[in-house]
């Protein structure tokens, strides 16, 4: 009798991205303000 065991793992494909949230509308909203 012949037996073979095949095991493999499937890895998810992941890619790096920058998700753009918003747009340039107001230049003068509340800042990181230290003054």
């Amino acid at each position: 009798m012949k037996r073979a065991l095949l095991a493999c793992a499937i890895l998810a494909t992941v890619s790096f991205a920058s998700i753009d949230v918003g747009s340039d509308v107001m230049p003068n909203s509340k800042p990181f303000c230290g003054d």
Partner: protein, 163 residues
């Protein structure tokens, strides 16, 4: 601030966030006891009490710097904060990004956009409740691996037998 799931539209392991400096203000500043928290929210509009906006137990410290010098660069330059601890955003529910600092020097302005009512709240350092709300939030980049978490989805085992 609260960022809607429909604005992000993806699961992402957030490793850093970037802002775009506007045409006014200064190009660098220093901020004391600067911290960033992230967490989940079911709300599209924030209420007055900071902690009550989070889904309970999800508020997570992702960046802490006792003296954070932000170098924003020239007008319209993108500048980035790399998190100490990446935050896994699943794509379900909204994302709260909370910034706090005690004192600082220099006012850095970033481009904002009209996101809708009560999308950001602000208040005094250490206060539990806000002094007001904002209808605009910064134009941002949320940076990191997008899509499914890097994990083993499953395994295939096959046994072949014969005589």
């Amino acid at each position: 601030m609260v960022v809607l799931d429909s604005d992000i539209n993806s699961a992402v392991q957030i490793e850093s966030i970037s802002w775009k400096r506007s045409t006014i203000g200064v190009d660098s500043g220093i901020f004391t006891n600067f911290k960033i928290y992230m967490g989940y929210s079911t709300l599209d509009q924030l209420g007055d009490t900071f902690s009550a906006n989070y889904i309970q137990g999800t508020r997570t410290l992702v960046y802490s710097n006792p003296s954070y010098q932000v170098v924003a660069g020239g007008p319209n330059n993108w500048f980035t904060t790399t998190l100490d601890t990446p935050f896994w955003y699943s794509g379900n529910n909204n994302l709260i990004i909370e910034f706090e600092w005690s004192t600082g020097a220099g006012s850095i302005y970033a481009w904002h956009w009209a996101a809708g009512p009560n999308r950001a709240i602000f208040g005094a350092y250490g206060s539990d409740t806000s002094d007001g709300s904002e209808n605009s939030i910064p134009h941002m980049m949320i940076n990191g691996p997008v899509g499914l978490q890097s994990e083993t989805l499953g395994s295939i085992k096959a046994t072949f037998g014969g005589e």
